[in-house]
Amino acid sequence: MEPVKVAAVQAAPVLLDRDATVARVVALCEKAAAEGARLVAFPEAFVPGYPDWVWRTRPWDATASSLYARLLDQAVVAGSPATAVLARTARRLGIWLSVGADERDEAGSTVYNSLLHFAPDGTLAARHRKLMPTGGERLVWGTGDGSTLDVVDTGFGRLGGLICWENYMPLARAALYARGVDIYLAPTWDNSEVWVPTLRHIAKEGRTYVIGVTSCIRASDLPSDLPGRAELYGDADDWLSRGNSAIVGPGGEILAGPLTGEEGILYAEIDAGEARAARMQFDPVGHYSRSDVLHLSVDATARAAVSFRPGDDAGEPALPPGEPGSGPAEAGVTP
């Protein structure tokens, strides 16, 4: 396993402006790649920004509703021009690019908090949708299913991650450990001092590198036409997020950061072979598990609300007439 340099980018998005934020991602990737980074990680919901207003508005009031409308409009769709730019950037620079996005299905009106991993071959190699939003976030984000808990092999280690307080879900972490994660991304909005101990704990629990990456944004960074800007936000001293990025080694030791109160890129040399060797001391899904006592099963099935069978699309009955289950109520719906 070759040691490589990784980068955690603590920066401000252009809130609710997808294309401007994507352009910022591209520029910051160029900078990190010039420093030799092979993996460049961005914060939670970086494109087009974390919906910070959920903590400032009353639920469903007029301002919250206008902001949601803009979030929906500016959300990222996998396979759209925005992801094509990100994929091309990964290929052009020869990097793995992991970026948090407010993401939705092309024809969908629910936004998900997703982590997108672009590979150096220019593909979207993996996508994780946050399983459980936190508090006020539940007013703007849906919940992912068990099908996006993948880990992807970069060649220099298995890459995966969980978003923000998902990192307090022990079973979700156990699922990633079982997939063999070596490089664990934890994009977050959490600014608290106790977040860094959590990163250190996870590193030691999974004997994995942990890259915590946080946005750094002030009210003065917000676009002037943002709905509710004047009523919700103050001046330059009004921090939406001070940043809290840190990179931790598989023994729980801090390799870089925590960085707060300024934008910046953290770098660290990582070696997935060292993470795996550290599991001599602790392996939560191997010699330090008790599969006879404690067994976790994970439903990794993709769960769409509605699925369509080809027969239905063609207007033909999916089942012979008169068969149980062929009525209109059941047709096309997967149990």
């Binding site: 399983l131 459980m132 936190t134 508090g135 919940t143 299913d145 068990g146 307080w165 307090y168 879900m169 022990p170 079973l171 979700a172 972490r173 156990a174 699922a175 450990y177 608290s192 106790v194 860094v196 101990p197 959590t198 250190r200 704990h201 996870i202 030691k204 629990e205 023994g251 729980g252 030791e253 001391q281 602790f282 939560p284 010699h287 330090y288 598990s289 008790r290 006879d292 006592v293 404690l294 067994h295 976790l296 099963s297 994970v298 439903d299």
Partner: protein, 336 residues
Amino acid sequence: MSTLRIAAVQASYELMNHDANIEKVAGLTSAAAREGAELVVFPEVFVPGPPIWIDTQPIWHGDEDWYALLARNAVVVPGPGTERLAAVAAEHGVWLAVGVDERERHGGTIYNTVLYFSPSGELAGRHRKLVPTGSERTVWGMGDGSTMPVVDTGLARIGGLTCWENYMPLARFHMYAQGVDVWVAPTLAMGDGWIATMRHIARENRMFVIGVNPVQHADQIPAGFPARDRLLPPAYLERNGPWVDEGNSVVVAPDGSVIAGPVREREETLIADLDLRSVAIQRRHVDPVGHYNRPDIFRLHVDTSPRRAVTCGHGIASDSQGGSDEHLGNSQRFTA
């Protein structure tokens, strides 16, 4: 009253001395009770102390006499040691949690166990560590799923895991699901990384966490200890310093903030008042087994049955499946 006063006793042990350490527990519990403590927690394997030689030299390398001492001084449950501990809890009207090297009355295997005694002098709970760490595997056996209790004191539900068991996500989840408010983490783990873990766990389940370590200086090894000169080789002391156990006790609130400790390199009993209301208040943020769980995706199965080496009975037992078939056959005959 929704405040629980707790004592985390960071103390030195007298290495491999059952009776002396039981009496230490008695004395320190008395002192903590005078401070008003309602729950008093002692370190991992405080009675009769940790088998410190396993990390100071190669495995099985001239350790016969030391292991014999461990076996002889291990705590049998129930036995004179547990009777004395139960009496101490009753005398002072406290909940008492004590880590012990435990063995079966006629057993040759030692378990790393935490015992919980109630103020009425009952043994209210017992937890055998599920997986020992590294060299510990050469002296301790493994517990089964039957000893993972959460004990209801009437005021709070207490329970926990031992040392690096605290890194077992599934074991923690099982304990969380039993509604634990106050987490007891007896340990030998030193250093700042452990404190990060204590803080993480508190915030993960939004509960109080009590981490308790022993403290032991090389000079405190009894003068007459067998092969004392070999126990802590100079090279080991040079590399690790004179503290065999430097302590690391800490008390953490449900938001992950440290409310007492960490204390190192001295004996000290940390006293803290736990405002139990904050557990419920904090769980509106995260409840890992409630609103912040996804039971549609994750299903944890726990086998809580005691797994004895041998089960005795008449005839040749088949497995449980076969047994129930036979029973079904009988009932079918009766109904027919």
